[in-house]
Amino acid sequence: MIKSGLVMVLVFLLIGLFSGPAQAAEAKYQRSIETFSVPDVVLVNQDGQKVHLKSLLESDRPVVVDFIYGTCTTICPVLSAGYVNLQKKLGPDNQKVHLVSITIDPENDTPAILKEYLTRYRAKPGWDFLTGSRRDIDRVMKSFDAYFRNKMDHKPLTFIRSPEDKHWVRLYGLLSSRDFMNECREVGI
């Protein structure tokens, strides 16, 4: 029993060693499970419609949340590319998951700017970009433990909520598409 177990381990290790060279590109990311209490605020989406954040996020479909802003240069394009890819993979099923981006620059990001961003990334329905009052956005960031006093100091954070256990998977780092899809799959997307 133990011997076959050891063999199994060895086999898995060997598979791991030869399953494609680990890209020096594949930066590690950190993963943890969290529970957050979403504040009861009203935000505005890219179409100028009011959105009740709590009911939006605590829904019965899986939800993915990230924090970006319209004129962001470096981290946001990578995060948004992940969303683009996920939408591509979902195909016609793109309403199965709700992708939510929340701006950390509500001063500048009016609904028009949110819309322009989504158009630039050729977002399909199912991906909403939200703005709101500065205070309310700060509260949302704090509730996700993702408060950045200065938007230039923001970190790459993605959150995936599983509707079954209502927990959030917190992903810190820039994930490759393979890792991101794996994480989504684990939550049942």
């Binding site: 605020v41 009203v42 009052s133």
Partner: protein, 119 residues
């Protein structure tokens, strides 16, 4: 020796009221953490009420960076999680807003402040 001591004590006692007065001055500011709408019997859409209370309570709140950035001022917390009740103040809808806030006194730090130059 004792007379000198007495003089010192007297001087100290005299400055106490001044110190007390200094403690009371300072601007009261609120940092609002949460808010909710209390319809109190009026019939209005509670979501609109919540949104309007957001505006009302957030207007009450100050941006703490406004006090810290200029330098020479400090914020002293005087209460945590106070519930500040404001009238919704909207001509089209009744009700109250309960703003959950930390209260601070903002005071000048005389010894810390760069020399004020009177132009």
């Amino acid at each position: 020796m004792t007379s000198k001591l007495l003089l010192l004590v007297l001087a100290g006692l005299l400055t106490l009221p001044l110190a007390a007065a200094a403690e009371e001055t300072g601007q009261k500011v609120y940092l609002v953490k949460d808010y909710r709408y209390e319809p109190g019997g009026s019939t209005g859409d509670p979501e609109v009420g919540q949104s309007l209370c957001g505006t009302r309570c957030n207007a009450l709140s100050s941006d703490y960076l406004n006090f810290i950035e200029p330098g020479g001022w400090r914020m002293v917390k005087v209460a945590s999680d106070s519930e500040v009740v404001l009238d919704l103040g909207n001509p089209f809808m009744q009700g109250e807003c309960v703003c959950l806030a930390d209260e601070y006194l903002v005071k000048l730090v005389e010894y810390n402040r760069p020399k004020e130059v009177k132009p």
